[in-house]
Each structure stands twice: as structure tokens, then as C-alpha cells.
Symmetry: none
Subunit: 225 residues, 2 copies
């Protein structure tokens, strides 16, 4: 599965760095922001998979930020874990009612933080609004079944071909360069020659016809709009 992105919002720079260090070590991608307002901007731009949100911050505090996020269609389904120094019951209840998904009091142990994050992600992940079925042109690309259908024909593509097709198709119209494709489909620390992508594209075309994936010379490939 692709690397999960976590946005950490806290005004204490030191804590921010510490958390970043630990989360990266666990294989997460980390974004940072120093107050609620900035946090929301970053969230809007990058759509993280989870937000760690400090409650007490200058400019815009965590509770306000949540309220805004929960009203935003793009952000309202992102899970939020609160961080706070106060271990004060009222705040806790309040924050959970406002729509937080969990609550952690500082000081924070790394292990605890990570297990909480994983637990919350699992909770959301399985409720799942991950899109596993694409319908584009006359194709139906079903990731649950690892099958591509066109009318009554079914194509069983090998894994890499399927995943490449799925990735391109889920970003219809957008040109993806080879390196990006390798990173997203093959994985981040894999080393293969980027021409490998060409070969897989060719195989997909061989099976499905060459009118789905377009070549953009000098740039990469694109799934036809």
C-alpha cells in the first residue's frame, strides 16, 4: 500500500520535529503546520490521511480548526487525533464531541502515538471510501477482483500491469512521468530502469488495445480523457 501521509499541527517547533522524526521512521510521510489556519491550508492542498492536531495554538486553536474541517467536504472525512497538555476531562469530552476521533495527552510516548495512529487509520480504512472500481470509457477496472472488464470480456492482467493501468486510469487525462509511475506503482525505494514502464505499457496495449494509454513524448504517459 502507498505511504500514508500525516499532517501534524502544533506550535511547538521542537515537538513538531520530534514527532516528524518518529513518524518518518515508521514509514509515514509527514507534513507540518504551526497553527490551525496554516493546518487547514496544508490539509486542503495535500489531503493527508490523518491529522494530528494540537488543541492550544495561537491564531486558530485546534477546536476551531476541527469545526472548519468537519464542514469542508474535502476534509470532513479525514480522521483527527487531538494532542493536548491539559488532561482535563471537559476539554476531552468537548473535543470528542466536536468530531475528533481520538485524543492523546502530552507528553507523548512514541509507541503510543504510533499505535493510536494505526488504530485510527484501521478504523477508517476499513469503513473505506477508497475507490476500488473505476469505470472509464468502455472499461471497468476492478481492484477488488483484480480484473478488467469490457462488455462481456474479462482481462486478467498481471499485477504490475493491472496496477499501472489502475493508477493511470484513476488520474485520467493527467500526464505522469516515468519516475512518478515507478514511485507510485512500484514503490518508493525500488530501483528499476525507468524504461521498464514502457514495456508494461506495451503489454497493456497488447491486451486491451492501444487507445487507452497515450504517449506524451519527452514527458510520460496519460490515460485518455
Amino acid at each position: 500500500m502507498a505511504k500514508k501521509t500525516i499532517l501534524v499541527v502544533d506550535d511547538e517547533q521542537d515537538l513538531l520535529d520530534l514527532i516528524e522524526y518518529n513518524l518518518k521512521k515508521e514509514g509515514f510521510k509527514v507534513l507540518k503546520a504551526e497553527n490551525g489556519q496554516e493546518g487547514i491550508e496544508v490539509a486542503k492542498e495535500h489531503k493527508p490521511d490523518l491529522v494530528l492536531l494540537d488543541i492550544m495554538m495561537p491564531k486558530m486553536d485546534g477546536l476551531e480548526a476541527v469545526e472548519i474541517m468537519r464542514k469542508d467536504d474535502d476534509l470532513k472525512r479525514i480522521p483527527i487525533i487531538f494532542l493536548t497538555a491539559r488532561s482535563d476531562e471537559n476539554t476531552e469530552i468537548e473535543s470528542l464531541n466536536k468530531g475528533g476521533d481520538d485524543f492523546i495527552t502530552k507528553p507523548i510516548s512514541t509507541t503510543k502515538l504510533v499505535s493510536r495512529i494505526k488504530a485510527v487509520m484501521r478504523r477508517f480504512g476499513e469503513a473505506g471510501d477508497t475507490l476500488n472500481k473505476l469505470e472509464v470509457h468502455d472499461l471497468e477496472i476492478d481492484k477488488d477482483r483484480y480484473i478488467v472488464k469490457r462488455g462481456d470480456d474479462e482481462f486478467q492482467l498481471p499485477r504490475k500491469e493491472f496496477e499501472l493501468l489502475f493508477f493511470l486510469a484513476s488520474r485520467r487525462g493527467k500526464v505522469m512521468d516515468r519516475q512518478t509511475l515507478l514511485n507510485k506503482v512500484w514503490g518508493d525505494n525500488i530501483y528499476v530502469v525507468d524504461r521498464t514502464v514502457d514495456v508494461h505499457v506495451r503489454k497493456i496495449r497488447e491486451k486491451l488495445g492501444d487507445h487507452y494509454i497515450e504517449t506524451v513524448k519527452g514527458v510520460g504517459y496519460r490515460f485518455k480523457e
Copy 2:
């Protein structure tokens, strides 16, 4: 759907009553127990659909109770949500690792409690564990009797083989990877090599023919649509 039963295990009588009140209001049937040992007895007798389990309790604490439940064939697939007091960090981590399906820290808002319960149930419910008799293709897979029929032929598969077949068949078409199969069929914190799945698949194919379970290389297995 029939009324779902929830077993609540906690040594604080007040909290027990409060939770009972709220869950009943939501239409659940509620069972109560005051310690782990009692909890397990009740669970064995009534097979609840979900267990809410306090971690700190006299006699037998929640962690012990889970370990026992996860080893009991009748109980190991019942979802468990832990209740923990905020103060106790270490047990929290431990509980996640022991294979709870969620955890909730006290105090918690009622709404949150109910929505978590529903979420976990949905997660497990989708599995179609309610249905005990599947008819797929020319097979009739009967979980009450652990027997597979095809026409007049009856096949008596060993337990694991049967459960694997049943699980795959109840998710017809969907590719399941080995790890998921192990988690769902063998149990959450069982340690076996994932290739074990292959061997069981082979045995099933040997008995029923190899046109039911399909291999998706690099991904997992799938029951033929």
C-alpha cells in the same frame, strides 16, 4: 436484522448501568459481567456479537480475557472493543497489540461509543458471517454441518479447509491476500507461515476440483465468480 447483542465487561457498576442504558436505547441487547472470568463465561454461553471490555478489572483483567477469547474457537472471531482509563499508557499499547479491534478511552461521549460500536460491527458484519449456507455454482456449503455438497456427493472437509473455502466463497470474486486469509480464517494473532494457505488451497482443489478457487499471482486467491 436481528437485534445485536453486546456484552459489556466492567467492574464499575455505575458505568455498566450507564452503558447498558445507552445501548438499549439504541436497540442493542445488553449482557453484563463484572470481571474477565465472568465475561468469558457469559460470552461462551451467549455468543454476543461484540464485547466491550474494560482493561483494568479484578480477578481477571481485560488483556488476559482477550488472550483466552482469541484462543477459543467459538469466541475468537467476536470483535472486541477495549475500554481504558486514560492514565494507563502501557496497557493501552499492549491491548492494541493483543488484537483488540478498537479501543476507547474513558471518559467518552455516548454518541462516540455507539458510533464506534456500529463501525466495528459493520466491519465484521459485511463479512456475511450471518449466513450459514452458501450456494455457489454447483456447490452447497453448509456451515452448520461443516459439509460441502455437489449434487448427491457430500464432501467432509477438515475444519480449516472448510473455513477457508467458506470464507472465500462468501466473498465471491474478491481477491484476498494470504495475510487477510490468515487473519480472518486462522485468527488475528496466530503465527503461521503464510504459505500454509497455499497448501490448504491445494487440498481443497484436490477434493473439489480446481475450478473454484483461482490464483491471482502476486496478490492472493479468489473464489470464481
